[in-house]
Symmetry: C2
Subunit: 427 residues, 2 copies
Amino acid sequence: MMTIKDMLGRGGVMTRDEAFALLAEHLTAPRLALEEAPLSRSLGRVLGQDILSPADHPPFDRSTMDGFAVRAADTFGATESLPALLTVVGDIPMGAMPERTIGRGEAMAIATGGALPQGADAVVMFEYAQHVEPSHIEVVKPVAPQEHVSFRGEDIRQGERVLGAGQVIRPQDMAALASMGRTVVPVFERPRVAIITTGNEIVPADTEPGPGRIRDSNSYSLEGLIALAGGEARKIGIIPDDQARLRQALEQALQDCHIVLFTGGSSVGTADYTARVINELGGPGVLIHGVSIKPGKPLIAGFAQAASGLVPVFGLPGHPVAVMVCFDLFVRPVIERFSGALAHPALAAAGAGRVVKARLRRSIPSAPGREDHVRVTLERREDGLYAVPVFGASGLISTLVKALGTVVIPLNSIGIEAGEEVDVRLF
Amino acid sequence: MMTIKDMLGRGGVMTRDEAFALLAEHLTAPRLALEEAPLSRSLGRVLGQDILSPADHPPFDRSTMDGFAVRAADTFGATESLPALLTVVGDIPMGAMPERTIGRGEAMAIATGGALPQGADAVVMFEYAQHVEPSHIEVVKPVAPQEHVSFRGEDIRQGERVLGAGQVIRPQDMAALASMGRTVVPVFERPRVAIITTGNEIVPADTEPGPGRIRDSNSYSLEGLIALAGGEARKIGIIPDDQARLRQALEQALQDCHIVLFTGGSSVGTADYTARVINELGGPGVLIHGVSIKPGKPLIAGFAQAASGLVPVFGLPGHPVAVMVCFDLFVRPVIERFSGALAHPALAAAGAGRVVKARLRRSIPSAPGREDHVRVTLERREDGLYAVPVFGASGLISTLVKALGTVVIPLNSIGIEAGEEVDVRLF
């Protein structure tokens, strides 16, 4: 049993930046295996290889308008009063190559997407062609060569790199892959993130908690957060405060997970078991034990040695809000870095739009030397958008459910006054 | 076979606002069935019922600190020089109720999350209690009644509405549901959106296109877009330009889908088949045939009569970029409205952060009377973020793949000058 002196005898806490820098020093992205994802299920996955176009796209010269395929030169000088008379020698059926070539003074009806016949080099829009008899049209406006035609390979050339490894697949990328016939897509496996729930007082969420016990809830918010960050959650289970069993759970997690999270036990005792177990398994062990953020101060972070290399291990505080703050600040960036996804640098700099500006409705006091993450909801008023703090102890789930985002009070600030403009980081 | 006159004889196009208003007039959200989603897979789903708490949370008075459970009155007046001496009568084990009550002058060691013993009304933090001998502590600072205690029901009261029908489930909501034992969650089924790919020239993406043919790509970007909007895509198949078969496909889609999309055939002829088929099936039929947006001008939209009521049917242009623009402006809002999700009004007003500000790198010309949606990428420069137009015909997939978002040139603008600040709507 640990003494109070032990509990108190733990050096000072670090700032968020110090903690993150220390973590980053040892962070090595794992080699992720490639998986084959069906194209229809590839949204949001990270492309594992460069995709080169196997062929020209479009594969043939196509009309981009409904009209007539012509030789542009035959229309030069055409006007309303002096139209060019062309002979219509046929229709180009969709989905087939034209059966004949176009000669001087000839035209063929063509629809958008239709294949341009040989001899033609432009398309006259229907609007500028008048049928004078079924077999003849008058063109009242000249077209330039190449006008209204998408030439073979104009969009994508054979062998061209269309998408690169590390790109996160968006709907338009799905279309690009389909147009190249890639209905199965090589993607990186998702980083696997183990969740070990600790604490003698925690029971599974689907059971009735006995006296003094409480349901596991953090493993569920973590599942959601991990999915949003692009990872795959692996629940190891609820482990009592027993060093041997915690070690066993960590060893199991290290076998095939890229990141390990402990969560649940909020007491100092549980946190210390977690720290000891991390230190037992080789590697640098615990590097961070306490960070000057609120909520989230008791965060533990370090590395354990697995067969595959050093694996980052986090001991998240037990409070639901602290779990979310610590995840956002420390775990999410690691999952994103491990995912193989290359963030677009300009987009990353723009903050990817997760932030809205609002004025603070009520003053928020803070203590210098501590970075406060205050939950807020948003209120639309006549004179603009307001951020309204949702106060409550960090253990309270109800405040999290009511909040739409957080406002950060910087490390050395004593608070923010009502009326000031703040950045609200949306959940 | 339709004549050129028929093709040209189609009244004028509408503005986007006119078109959307006309659509909204007939729009009735369907009654979605409830499904039971496992909590671990409920992220992003729309809650189908209000969730009332079945019990108080926390279910018992809990300590929020590591320390000693005490009667607050026993510590009143305590100082460093005149500490209060208390007898430690035991440890409170985690996950069990204390076996005895606390009397005057007594204390019990308690960890964060531990159950407060009867008789105690506050917790003294370890930092302010010194063991003078194993069975006694000196408290050097008074605690107020209720300090460091989270009382039964303080977070959530039995019977309280914690989450409401229509809320989109976030990670923290998953935690709230878990804490109430709801590991199976009543959610609305996702609106089902049928995709009917049209055009004789279209072949399935996994086949090699023959001469004059091209692979289906739009149905894949639509799958992605539908998923992002909260819908469920149902691919009906690739249907040739044959009125009877298109009608059959639409009838099939109407049997169990809430929204129907035609896509693929980009020619006027195909579009007209689509329009005729929509008009054949009762209801208001085609209401919108042409909108003053670029790309996307040939959009068709209307309603067909299904057994379940009026179903919105869209004929999307065949160009990949036009498909995305029309989806974003017209289809996405309908899916979102049909999903049962209640948008938070303030969040909706804030634009939910999908927009970033940037300066335009090059001038974009436009024509008055047309709303241009210009694809842009972003570039980080020393003096800030720039939006760089990605020019190309709207049929080109490569421009979509390169773009990060769009800039809208308003209906009556002749363009935007380089250097002006613009809103970039991120994809």
